[in-house]
Symmetry: C2
Subunit: 462 residues, 2 copies
């Protein structure tokens, strides 16, 4: 395995002989020598390579060391006169692996718009911003695993292909192997999905929650971390058709335990990224959003506020604000309301809990007041809802009634109801949209720029 | 967070006061007291709970503490007279959370067939075998992350929905939001996929490799770990329509480096599971397959053999065996050949490399002999191929020619070709089917029993 630039910059000593392999970011030819900045994706800062004229003269390929070219440099680490690094590489041997014609290579030194970069999704990971995003994304993912594994949670892989539109959480993609030009039909003229691959109609999952509940009633504490899908025709900076979701589910846990876990979880992830990606966070602070460091610090260290939905409505009614959307008990909170609560009233993240039953999903546990459910949302300054969760209805009769009263057919929920028939326990969980977390962490404006290959209406390139 | 039984069994001291929450596995009523074995999914062995008659008399719910019931027990740890555990719980307080009617609860004490358990996928995680499998599965997953993260690899999330049938690796599922009963048609009478969600026909991915190559040319070392799909109508004990795959991809890496990484990787994962899941591995050894421990030890500690494909063919020709399938240079190795090489000739895992170009994918690097490609397969005793990998063709002209000569249209590969146009480097990677790994590790006969919710032809329940 070759030496990585991150390790060389952190641990390299003057006099060390090293070989680095990477891609040229910039080249400057001076009278005495040539400076090349090389990056291998391990870190934001490249390694400065100094090529003496004698070496350059012996290396015909040096003319092809243009931006984007792949090359290998061997030599000795020397003290750097530059102010941004302690060492630089004095190259003695150079090998060009692959050039990048400056006439056509799209990633020249100038800054490019994120819109343009999306059209070259195969090259944009080589830019400073996308590179930093992907390293932070990786750190967030590892923080998530570490948080749950340390607490004895099992990572469970819930299915991507599902036969149930269980949650009614959104528009669904159909998954099929039928010949769409000539699909088999039933005698009534409907598509005959019994002849499809799975013997029934199948979809891409919108959530692994229901299956995670199965696993929690066997392993107590589990979490999913995988792709989920929404076929909504939403062309916004906050929506993806394919995104990753994290969904812990805990048996013997009530709404209070759920809120505590959500708070500890977010604090852990923000602290982890601050500790593991200081260079990237400083870059986002400098280039993308001047408030990311303060926000991350606050998320990592400050206890969250808590308000019941009923209290939240009172706060909003007394605020004297002219909101665009109406405020009244029984109506859902809109983004403007959520942001007021977090940014102005609490001035920190706030968990709102006990929402009206009528505006929440059937599986949320009905409170004793008969009109609210044990649901909770974590609202963060600037972005609003980052986590949504609930205690699940564990009482067979109540659950069955809620399914029916929401106009759903109980039949496909036979196994979900069985969990309440056999060894039922209070249990709770929440969901976190992983890309929204990364967006929040980095300050990136558009969610399409925090996932390697975004899927949105009209876009499935790369 | 409650105390988990695994921790109590490992660290609990006589005299400790504890509360455990879990599901009853067995109950035995004796003259003096009642024994209940409680399991919370943290470990194979349950905790033995002793309920004195005085406590039982004060707990009307005790009659409902039947197999499958969920309950909470508080009391004091006392020395156990039993030979299988050092301590047991002397219960002073009991709370029944949810019963499980013995007349209808499907998981009674007797052993059930795996076929039957698949029909109750929502309950089977509560069995000893499925429980042990899922804990080993989690350990394998964490071993994979740890192996790559320690070596500076980024976890990258490649897309599930893809517009390209790039690899030609198998039958594809179509993903659509079109009204299948009345799909839009082109003037020529074809389905008009330009009106579909993504503006073109979209599929479920069969591999993240091509996108991983994009990421490797920015970050040097990356790996995918996510779901992939095959719409093959294969009803076997080794095929799933939806399964998880691990695909590392390394820039500046040739086939030799690829083989070294694959070997180190498998050794690491097997060692990790032996270290982290001794109880589960002993269970599989005892109940499922008497050879799993020896196999895992061998995988973890013994260097793999290596044979070129040409050597392998010579070995097979000289073996004197009457194979069912013919052996000749240019033909692919069949399972019986792979097993002979690993089990009998090498008597250990073997890596076969440099396969005929004609039987391998277009993206594999053409060797200087003009007739073989830099591909490799890791073959393991008993199961055959566990890993398949290759050095990728990094030369623009050669790759383009290989695409065309395999009858593929180069147009959709514009971005894949671009990787060879701009900063191209030697690079290599491999793929591991995660469920096959878990199957190999545990000795489980059917791959449907090592994934929580298997998807196969005709099956998408739960």
């Amino acid at each position: 395995m070759q030496q990585r630039i991150k390790d060389i910059l952190q641990q390299g000593q003057v006099g060390d002989r090293v070989t680095v392999k990477g891609w040229v970011r910039t080249k400057r030819e001076l009278k005495e020598c040539t400076f090349v900045n090389v990056n291998d994706g391990s870190t934001l800062a490249g390694l400065q390579v100094v090529i003496p004229n004698t070496v350059a003269a012996a290396t015909p390929a040096i003319k092809d060391l243009t931006t984007g070219a792949a090359a290998e440099f061997s030599g000795e680490l020397v003290p750097s006169p530059g102010k941004n690094q302690a060492i630089e590489l004095h190259a003695q041997q150079i090998h060009l692996w692959g050039g990048a014609d400056p006439e056509t290579y799209p990633l020249q030194k100038k800054r490019h718009s994120f819109e343009f970069l999306r059209t070259i999704g195969h090259l944009r990971p080589r830019t400073n911003t996308l590179g930093a995003v992907m390293r932070v994304r990786n750190a967030c993912a590892m923080a998530i695993h570490q948080f749950f594994q340390e607490r004895g949670f099992l990572w469970v892989h819930t299915p991507i292909i599902t036969a149930s539109d269980c949650e009614g959480a959104g528009e669904l993609f159909t998954v099929t192997t039928l010949d769409l030009a000539q699909p088999p039909k039933t005698p009534e003229g409907q598509i005959d999905f019994s002849q499809d691959f799975f013997g029934r109609r199948a979809y891409l999952t919108v959530s692994g929650q229901l299956e995670a509940e199965i696993m929690a009633t066997a392993f107590t504490n589990v979490y999913t971390f995988g792709p989920t899908f929404r076929a909504e025709n939403s062309n916004t900076s906050r929506h993806l058709a394919e995104f990753w979701m994290v969904e812990p589910e805990m048996a013997f846990c009530d709404l209070m335990g759920d809120m505590e876990l959500a708070e500890a979880f977010l604090q852990f992830v923000f602290r982890y990224v601050l500790d593991h990606c200081p260079e990237e966070m400083a870059f986002f602070q400098e280039r993308i959003d001047k408030s990311v460091m303060a926000t991350a610090e606050q998320m990592a260290s400050q206890p969250f506020a808590r308000l019941s939905y009923t209290e939240a409505i009172q706060v909003l009614e007394k605020s004297g604000r002219a909101f665009e959307f109406p405020v009244a008990w029984g109506l859902d909170l809109q983004s403007e309301h959520e942001r007021y609560l977090a940014e102005e009233y609490c001035q920190r993240p706030v968990i709102v809990y006990d929402y009206p039953a009528a505006i929440k999903a059937f599986y949320m546990r009905l409170n004793d007041d008969g009109k609210t459910v044990a649901a909770m949302d974590v609202l963060a300054p600037k972005i609003g809802e980052i986590i949504g969760g609930s205690q699940r209805e564990e009482r067979f009769d109540v659950l069955q009634q809620r399914i029916v009263s929401q106009g759903l057919d109980p039949a496909p929920y036979w196994w979900y109801l069985d969990l309440r028939r056999y060894g039922s326990v209070p249990h709770a969980g929440f969901g976190l949209g992983f890309e929204r977390l990364v967006q929040f962490m980095t300050g990136m404006d558009n969610i399409r720029d925090v996932i390697p290959f975004p899927r949105t209406p009209g876009n499935a390139e790369f």
